[in-house]
């Protein structure tokens, strides 16, 4: 604890990360209270105030149908974070288990599991998710499914490599000599030693899921209107550059702030938990 505080205080960037993420999560959780126009999250039209540059009470300006961009960004954060949490909640256990088993058991089990992982890794993540979203219907659930499908192999890779090096450690030999079961060795001995790396990667990935999800919706293959989404906001606004710059710049910066925050936080965790890259 003392060491964590020391690292945070000595590194202002890490502290910045903690603050940014605190703000983003706070804004998303209490959007109903903070957003000046909570009703603008949906299909609301206010032509009297459309396409306004940033001015009070429209902090980030309004879009082409007069909705407050600041309010919509807060609600978009909420959906992005939810997506990130759900995707990781499914992808991480799957990826980690496969990685542990492939790395520890070895032999043909390892060969088959890792070649399957290679198949998923050799389709560029965005392309795989795009194809799945296109072929299925672009709903939030399918979005989670598509992003999950492209995400688990990265955890398999990470944990597989960790397991292979942990397997050489004396404590694994000790467990085998004692006669502990494979399940015990894998999940009680090796897994705890992979946790710092996994947690660090998960922190970074919360940012990257937001990034990928926004990329999908930027191409029109993500969450559909009127649900607020940062990627589609940028895509819609890009047609009106450079005059209505706020339409793209603020949602774009919103993505940047969240992902940047998670990256800083992940770096800080890496230092605190002592994880090798």
């Amino acid at each position: 604890m003392k060491r964590a505080a020391y690292i945070l205080v000595r590194n202002p960037l890490s502290l910045t990360g903690v603050i940014l993420i605190a703000l983003v999560v706070f804004g998303a959780l209490f959007a109903d209270l903070i957003a000046p126009f909570p009703e603008h999250r949906g299909a609301v039209v206010d032509f009297a105030n459309f396409n306004k540059p940033p001015e009070w009470p429209y902090l980030f300006g309004t879009d082409l149908v007069g909705r407050d961009l600041f309010s919509r960004i807060l609600y978009a954060y909420r959906i992005s974070l939810l997506l990130g949490v759900v995707v990781l909640a499914i992808a991480v256990p799957i990826g980690v288990t496969i990685g542990l088993v492939a790395g520890y058991v070895g032999g043909w089990v390892e060969y088959v599991l890792m070649r399957i992982t290679d198949v998923f890794l050799s389709i560029p993540p965005l392309v795989l998710a795009m194809s799945m979203m296109g072929l299925l219907e672009p709903t939030l659930t399918n979005g989670m499914l598509a992003v999950t499908a492209m995400w688990w192999p990265w955890y398999t890779r990470l944990v597989y490599n960790l397991t292979r090096s942990e397997k050489e450690e004396g404590y694994v030999l000790a467990a085998e000599v004692i006669g502990a079961s494979r399940a015990h060795t894998i999940f009680r001995e090796i897994l705890p030693n992979c946790v710092p790396s996994i947690v660090t990667k998960m922190t970074l990935d919360l940012g990257f899921v937001i990034l990928i999800a926004s990329s999908l919706s930027f191409l029109g293959l993500g969450v559909q209107p009127p649900t607020p989404d940062l990627g589609s906001m940028v895509a819609d606004g890009a047609k009106y550059l450079p005059d209505s710059w706020w339409l793209t710049v603020f949602p774009g910066l919103a993505i940047l702030v969240a992902v940047f925050g998670f990256n800083l936080l992940g770096d800080a965790l890496r230092d605190i938990l002592g994880v090798d890259q």
Binding site: L173, A174, G179, A180, H184, E189, P192, V195
Partner: protein, 270 residues
């Protein structure tokens, strides 16, 4: 007389790419109940491979290993695992850094169903006391222990399953000399008290001289010489044994004299 553990014509061949490496070549010896048998050699001697085969990490390529007269199968039964335990060289690696000392010591008790569940914490405390550590160490992480303390925990873990044979794989070579002396003392005391049998794997002949009953000298996978410690040091038969003894850096004049006497024979022969 058959021993507690008998190796008969044991060989181990590893394949590395297209090469075959004969790590252990047709080795036979017995470990007698209650003795401390030192297995001595340098890197590439095959001593670690022999330890791993005794422990059942992998089976021999040829030959048999028997426990109290029963030939051990490639996949060990739990009772055989329980009977043969291990203390490794590096206690920093052999204790899981993410588990408490108590959890590491409890594992053999849980796996082999030793003692009543509710009394296992007491057992762990007694084990710690037996190796000279306070009972409240069970809540500590290995990182909070010194090298010598960690090695004591590793020894306690080997005792936990109430094994008959303990393989000691360079148990003191990562330790400072003062700590080494105390750990060696502990090992000797435990052997007397519990009637344990040791297979002591090491490259350090000065340690061997003071703890082993018999010595087996290995070079390049072959057993060069096997005899009582007294005999090996008084009158080593094999030139390699003599070279090994002569290479030990020594601190006392009596030791230099012994070394010179051994080398004279070789110089005369050469």
């Amino acid at each position: 007389m058959t021993g507690l553990l008998s190796l008969r014509n044991v060989s181990k061949v590893f394949t590395l790419g297209q090469r075959e490496i004969r790590a252990v070549d047709d080795v036979s010896f017995d470990v007698v109940e209650g003795e401390c048998l030192a297995i001595v050699g340098e890197s590439g001697s095959g001593k670690s491979t022999i330890a791993n085969m005794i422990l059942g990490i992998y089976p021999p390529s040829m030959g048999t290993i028997a426990w109290r007269g029963d030939v051990l199968p490639a996949r060990r039964e739990l009772r055989h695992r329980r009977a043969i335990q291990l203390v490794q060289q590096n206690p920093l690696s052999s204790l899981n850094p993410r588990r408490s000392v108590g959890a590491s010591l409890r594992l053999p008790l849980d796996v082999h169903g030793i003692g009543d569940r509710s009394h296992r914490a007491d057992r762990v405390a007694r084990l710690l006391e037996e190796v000279g550590l306070p009972a409240d160490f069970m809540n500590r992480s290995p990182a909070a222990l010194s090298g010598g303390q960690r090695q004591r925990v590793a020894i306690a873990r080997a005792l936990a399953s109430e094994s008959d044979l303990v393989v000691l794989d360079e148990p003191t070579s990562a330790l400072d000399v003062l700590v080494q002396a105390r750990v060696l003392k502990l090992l000797a005391d435990l052997r007397d008290k519990r009637g344990l049998t040791y297979v002591f794997i090491t490259h350090d002949l000065s340690v061997v001289r003071n703890i082993a009953d018999r010595v087996a000298v290995f070079e390049k996978g072959c057993l060069r010489e096997l005899g009582t410690t007294e005999a090996i040091f008084a009158n080593p038969q094999h030139a390699y044994t003599r070279r090994l003894i002569a290479a030990v850096p020594v601190v006392a004049d009596a030791e230099v004299a012994l070394r010179n006497r051994l080398m004279e024979n070789d110089d005369a022969a050469a």
